[in-house]
């Protein structure tokens, strides 16, 4: 054991020295690392704004029912296609329903669908990627070629195919989006695993008797978490967009339940008469997705250790 076990880790070398002792939990440095990440994030105005936006969306998703001025399916045939006014801040749709209330209610749908879908993709994709990257050989070939097949399809087309088989609806849309994003996570995880599995600390753990499962979960996974976190943030944005696209195509959320994509779909016929029907749901998608993406970009700069030096010099 000649490795300097007490040295603080250099940010450019991910191996955590404490990992040499299987008995000591690896993410000993975790809390400090998290704090550092958050602080780095908060130093950037864009990061703060993105976080605030996403927090806002989360609040709307959780408490939208109390915040919405009207019931989401409250049909009012006397107040159809009203432009934005003091009564209806975002105007009303063709059935006299309040657009603001529906935009708020849609946040819950978007958050639910994207979080569940990305969770599916995360769990399955990371699992497959870990197995493929760690064991290599034929298992790697089988897993990654199958992922390549999935990846070869345009995302929305694959999601549509899955929805076509399972039938339209918000649950199947969630599953479809989840499946579609599995290969992204599998690839990211496998690539990182490949670079980490031959590190000394993994081999040391093995030599001390850790089985493959323990090596993967305790020693590999924590050290490849950065790219996965970044990918999660970016995928959330794409999942929101996918849900909106599927709903726009009539394959996601079914009426009368609102969703940003569904509202955009319903607004098509009224482009000329009621701009507010398309603009407000469109804005909601735009702002949320943009916030997710910006956050993802910043997280990448902050977390992605290998490129952090160049990132600080300014990637864009």
């Amino acid at each position: 054991m000649s490795t300097p076990a007490t040295t603080q880790p250099d940010p450019s070398t991910p191996p955590d020295p404490t990992a040499y002792d299987p008995a000591v939990p690896v993410p000993d440095e975790g809390p400090r690392g998290w704090r550092r990440t958050v602080l780095a994030l908060l130093r950037r105005p864009v990061g703060v704004v993105s976080l605030l936006v996403l927090l806002g969306v989360l609040v709307l998703a959780l408490f939208g029912g109390w915040l919405a001025p009207y019931g989401i399916n409250e049909v009012n045939l006397d107040a159809r296609l009203q432009p934005p006014s003091a009564d209806f801040w975002f105007g009303t749709d063709e059935l006299g329903r309040d657009i603001l209330s529906r935009v708020i209610a849609s946040a819950a749908v978007s958050v639910r669908v994207s979080v569940i879908a990305v969770s599916i993709a995360l769990v399955v994709g990371v699992g497959l990627g870990l197995l493929a990257g760690f064991f290599g050989g034929w298992l790697d070939t089988v897993i990654m070629r199958s992922q390549d097949v999935l990846f070869a399809f345009p995302e929305i087309l694959l999601a549509m195919a899955i929805v076509a088989i399972l039938g339209p609806g918000v649950t199947t849309a969630t599953i479809a989006i989840g499946v579609v994003y599995i290969p992204v996570f599998a690839r990211v995880t496998r690539a990182s695993t490949l670079s980490v599995r031959t590190e000394t600390y993994v081999r040391a753990a093995k030599s001390l008797g850790a089985g493959p499962a323990r090596q993967m979960v305790r020693h590999v996974l924590p050290n490849i978490s950065a790219p996965i976190i970044v990918q999660t943030s970016l995928s959330l944005a794409f999942a929101i967009l996918s849900e909106a696209s599927l709903s726009f195509l009539g394959l996601g959320v079914q009426p009368p339940e609102p969703s940003w994509g569904r509202m955009l779909f319903d607004s098509r016929a009224f482009f000329q008469d009621a701009w507010w029907m398309s603009v407000f749901p469109g804005l909601a998608v735009f702002v949320t997705v943009l916030a997710c993406n910006l956050l993802g970009d910043i997280l990448r700069d902050v977390l992605d250790v290998r490129s952090s030096a160049t990132a600080r010099g300014g990637t864009r």
Binding site: E74, F238, A269, Q272
Partner: protein
């Protein structure tokens, strides 16, 4: 030009926002050097650009460009059931007799006809000198072949021939049809629409009929570009005289706002794909003519009587009282429809006055009470089709109105194929749909309300109605027949076998350059007498 500008602004803005959001994170975390592309942009971007195309003013005798909302599935008139096909085929094929603008049957390929004294033999005298588009002669054999094809192969219009026992050619220009029982509606059955057109045997047997049909009509099919358009060429030898325009191009434009924008910019000269909310503002538009007439189409709700408690007439009546027809009609059709509580509108000679149901939630509640049914316990899945967006909209209103009397409902919106399957299997509580192109009362009552009716999916059974429907089929006296169908209409509405909602208008718009065009209440589109100014 403020409206189109606003359209482009709104469309453009949404588009830009979506695209910006996409490209903001156009790449995924780049570990394997792969791009997580931004394909989604295409999903919402398609087809929103307003057309700025130059208005090519058509020369006199030129081609009329007509925008229809969808593409024909195929062009074999006996097989297709799609309205898009019949929009084209109306101008390509002929029938023995055809409806005029009042839906009275007039001579077409048959110049005259007579019936025997026992009403069981109909003799048709065919027009002479009629030729097919390929130049060959039209004869009585073609009529025999066409009708036998429909009956023997049980093609979609075969039910119209249920009373026909034989079709024979007496000579080159005489056809005899024998029926098993007096059939006062035979003319409507063999001429009501181009689904019973006379086709050419050679064309059918070669298989070309599906894409390049040969007819006897005023136009022949000259070019078919799937996904885009069908072009017809004037038939100089048409028996009614050569059309004055050189041809017709049918373009498939599914988005109503796009179709109307194309009409306004002069890219097309005719369309029936007018956004309902813009109909009211059209008459003032310069250079655009609007044609709007009532139709015999009807839209209705049907409750599945195999599902409790819809077997109880009070429950069905309660729902008929719980819905606001005026509100539904105004919201879905923007006033381009007439509210009705029975099938057929006032403009039809078969109209039966009926107004027992009004929007009365209190009455609905008391009916449910007298039936001993708790509204909260009523299962209510409203089945509608995304292919008919008005049903999806109406269902949302109905759902909200039903909740006012305590009925919780869910909306199931399916594509039309799946919708038909579910209907056929009886998997619905309530459905909304329409019947189109109705001419004879036998068309719109027997199959839908007779106990053994082919389209009686709601499971309605009333022996009195059955008996009346059977009488109506064979009654040859017009006044007696009208009386029978008055009773039928009233009983069906009383029993709420169907809860009728409205009769939509036929709305079509065309350029002022188009002259001589007449809107037909059965949605038949005839360009043979049109001129381009």
């Amino acid at each position: 030009m403020t409206r189109p500008t606003m359209f482009r602004l709104a469309a453009g803005l949404t588009l830009v926002l979506t695209l910006a959001a996409c490209s903001g994170g156009g790449e995924a975390v780049d570990m394997n050097g792969e791009q997580n592309g931004d394909q989604e942009a295409d999903g919402t971007a398609g087809g929103t650009g307003g057309s700025d195309g130059d208005a090519d003013a058509p020369a006199a005798g030129g081609t009329l460009v007509a925008a229809i909302a969808g593409e024909p599935d195929q062009l074999d008139p006996h097989v297709t059931t799609a309205y898009f096909s019949f929009q084209v085929l109306e101008n390509v094929y002929d029938t023995l007799v055809e409806p005029d603008v009042n839906l009275e049957m007039q001579p077409a390929l048959a110049e005259s006809w007579e019936t025997s004294d026992d009403q069981l033999t109909w003799t048709f005298h065919l027009r002479e000198g009629v030729t097919w588009h390929d130049g060959s002669d039209f004869t009585a054999d073609d009529v025999v072949y066409s009708y036998n094809r429909i009956m023997e192969e049980e093609l979609s219009p075969s039910w119209r021939f249920s009373s026909v026992e034989s079709v024979t050619a007496v000579d080159e220009s005489t056809v005899e049809i024998k029926v098993g029982s007096p059939s006062p509606n035979l003319l409507a059955n063999i001429g009501g629409y181009k689904g019973v057109a006379i086709v050419q045997q050679e064309n059918v047997e070669s298989g070309d009929v599906t894409t390049a049909p040969v007819g006897t009509g005023p136009f022949s099919v000259s070019d078919y570009t799937p996904g885009s358009s069908i072009t017809l060429e004037a038939n100089a030898d048409y028996y009614g005289g050569a059309p004055q325009i050189g041809g017709v191009e049918f373009r498939f434009i599914s988005e109503p706002t796009t179709a109307l924008a194309s009409l306004q910019s002069g890219d097309v000269q005719w369309t029936d794909n007018v956004p309902p909310q813009q109909v009211a503002s059209l008459p003032g538009t310069e250079g655009i003519e609007l044609g709007q007439v009532g139709s015999n189409d009807y839209w209705y709700l049907a409750l599945n009587q195999a599902h409790e408690p819809f077997d109880q007439v009070e429950v069905r009546q309660a729902i008929a009282f719980a819905i606001d027809r005026e509100g539904i009609t105004e919201a879905t059709m923007f006033g381009n429809a007439t509210v009705n509580q029975t099938a057929i509108p006032e403009s039809s000679s078969w109209f039966t006055p009926y107004d027992k149901y009004s929007y009365d939630p209190a009455q609905a509640t008391s009916l449910l009470e007298s039936a001993g049914v708790d509204p909260a316990s009523i299962p209510m899945e409203i089945m509608v089709s995304t292919d008919y967006p008005e049903t999806v909209q109406a269902a949302q209103i109905i759902s909200s109105q039903l909740s006012d009397i305590g009925i919780n409902s869910e909306i199931k919106s399916l594509d039309f194929g799946a919708w038909l399957d579910e209907q056929g299997q009886g998997n619905f509580d309530m459905l909304m749909m329409g019947w189109l192109g109705n001419i004879d009362p036998d068309d719109f009552y027997y199959s839908q309300h007779h106990t053994d009716g082919a389209n009686n999916y709601q499971g309605y059974s009333n022996p009195d109605v059955d008996a009346l429907l059977e009488q109506g089929r064979v009654e040859t006296d017009e006044a007696a027949r009208k009386d029978i169908y008055d009773q039928v209409a009233t009983q069906i509405a009383d029993d709420a076998s169907y809860i009728y909602l409205y009769n939509p208008d036929v709305v079509q718009a065309w350029s002022s350059d188009v002259q001589g065009y007449e809107v037909m209440p059965n949605r038949a589109i005839r360009f043979r007498d049109v001129t381009l100014g």
